[in-house]
Subunit: 345 residues, 2 copies
């Protein structure tokens, strides 16, 4: 079991991932040459290279079916496939009881939770920026299934869904995939968002995110929208060409999505990530869902293109420098999203 | 004047650096090939490529002298040289009054402050990991001079001193240099440290950092010490092989250093950064000073080797995963620091 430690003073937690332990020489070698994986463990036919799937979508005739791998067997006819991470940062409780480390007032707990990978398509390169919208509908539904399931665990307080695209953004495998991490605490950024939105809700009987969306739709930071979703460059973007995607209807997580909204979200992902690829030559990026199943919270997606390095200033102060004003980013992205949307029809 | 913006909800500030503005194509080109600078603007003889120096150390006979460039002239006989950054993130107030942007309740202020570069040596490659200890004494004294000066400005609330080493850690020029940024607010991480240490001080009439140092010196995270400084791997290190350097004596900034401590600090930097180079083949790293001139605060240096990528999970949650337990990092670093120290004598 990995260990979760809190900083001496800061409200900052780190997983000390002894299960993924690396020695000094590992870092030197990995800098010398990037590892090339001859065999992709996520491609069809290589299912035995991953743990048994926790969720599989497959077709039976015209009908979509859900199942999981049983008795150590691996289904081969999947459309999307969710598997436990081979080197999990967080793990479910084991039967043996682990004693907690003591000493020096340092706070520690077990890194209880889950760490899964959603393989988004049997096609190695079917990233959202080029995917069929129908395939993205499966992906969103599968994420919804896993999110709902993991949130029921008594030791889970938060489920983080995120996507690293490109080696520069930390993707260690190039097959299209999303990661799902369930944690035993609500992480710092989410707790701050929750506290601020809850306070606003109690004072104003209104959702602060709804207000932000209403305001940004009319601002020069607006990028694109369809029936149910809107994309804009946030007022205080910390990354060049950062954008956020919000559902127009107030809802706290993807569990609340109705079918038409799932299709609209699939389209929003295809258009926005395709537009980003188009504008910046398929840049590396990180994408994160922010979801808290509480009445006052409004879920959304934040996309961080990885075009600048967070260096000494950012890391030691928690303040950021962004060389692209969000208004200019929005203008460029808007044009690119529109071109992408046209190419789809 | 650049603009400083606050996030809608989070206590997170970003400089929208319009003065360093970049277009989409700039990012594509910079990914295609790294820029090679034929002429180093920090090397002796190229002083005309930088703004006039705000501080210069030079020798007059056996005597060390301090001065600055005057009347647009550039002194050539410097030992260390501090110049304004050509593309500053923060700038001193100009004579013209800039109106503030309004609308949507978004908070903004002028990015008032300073952004300087301390050129650490006339020798291009005299990084702290290989520098003469005597040269590092000049560097520390010069940083002390600029810190003291900038803290007197009425619009300055914090002075961040940091170092980016290697292109992978965001260093755009390879000549040995440190950056100094003065900001009009106390950045988030520092404010949290200040608030927590102040609270502890009021309750216990003691410095929480002194307690941490006392405890870590005896722990398996201890790495190295000399008369006045101690290096250890922090309990909740967020980076592989992260280490912190603390003065043993309680002091709030480098202004409080006495001469013998300056020499000991120079030695601690040489041994620790030399040890890091030795252990991990000169890895990229970010180094940051944490200094708040208040009684209860205890200044220190944090060194973050840049060996892992902060990706979607870290960026969207503010939680971290570290694959090297600090206790193991400390064991390896301790050996490397000792070898480095022996090589010096």
């Amino acid at each position: 079991m990995n260990e979760l430690r809190k900083d001496y003073l800061l409200d900052r937690w780190v997983v000390i991932a002894s299960h993924r332990r690396r020695r000094p020489t590992d870092f030197i070698e990995s800098r010398r040459e990037e590892k090339k994986t001859a065999t992709c463990p996520f491609c069809p036919g290589n299912e035995h290279l991953t743990p048994p799937a926790s969720l599989i979508y497959f077709m039976e005739g015209d009908e979509l079916r859900r199942d999981c791998d049983k008795n150590g067997e691996r289904r081969k006819d999947w459309i999307v496939r969710c598997v436990p991470n081979l080197y999990p940062a967080f793990s479910p409780p084991s039967s043996k009881i682990n004693s907690k480390r003591s000493g020096c007032g340092c706070i520690s707990m077990e890194a209880l939770g889950h760490h899964e990978v959603l393989i988004e398509s049997p096609n190695h390169d079917e990233h959202p920026s080029v995917a069929r919208v129908t395939q993205l509908v499966y992906v969103i539904n599968a994420l919804r299934d896993r999110f709902s399931f993991l949130m029921t665990k008594e030791y889970v307080r938060y489920v983080s869904i995120f996507r690293n695209h490109g080696a520069g953004a930390g993707a260690s495998l190039s097959h299209a995939h999303t990661q799902i991490i369930a944690t035993p605490i609500i992480p710092k950024i989410l707790r701050e968002e929750r506290d601020a939105s809850k306070e606003f809700y109690l004072e104003n009987k209104d959702c602060i995110f709804c207000r932000i969306v209403d305001s940004e739709i009319k601002s020069e930071r607006f990028i694109w929208s369809n029936e149910s979703f809107v994309a804009f460059a946030p007022w205080a973007s910390i990354n060049p060409f950062e954008f956020w995607i919000f559902p127009k209807r107030h809802q706290s997580s993807i569990v609340d999505l109705i079918d038409s909204e799932i299709k609209e979200l699939a389209e929003a992902l295809r258009v926005s990530l395709g537009g980003l690829r188009r504008l910046l030559n398929d840049p590396p990026y990180n994408l994160g869902f922010h979801m808290i199943p509480e009445e006052h919270y409004h879920w959304h997606i934040e996309v961080y293109p990885n075009l600048a390095i967070w260096a000494g200033f950012e890391k030691s102060t928690g303040m950021f420098i962004n060389t692209v004003p969000p208004e200019e980013a929005a203008a460029s992205l808007s044009e690119a999203f529109e071109s992408e949307e046209e190419s789809l029809t």
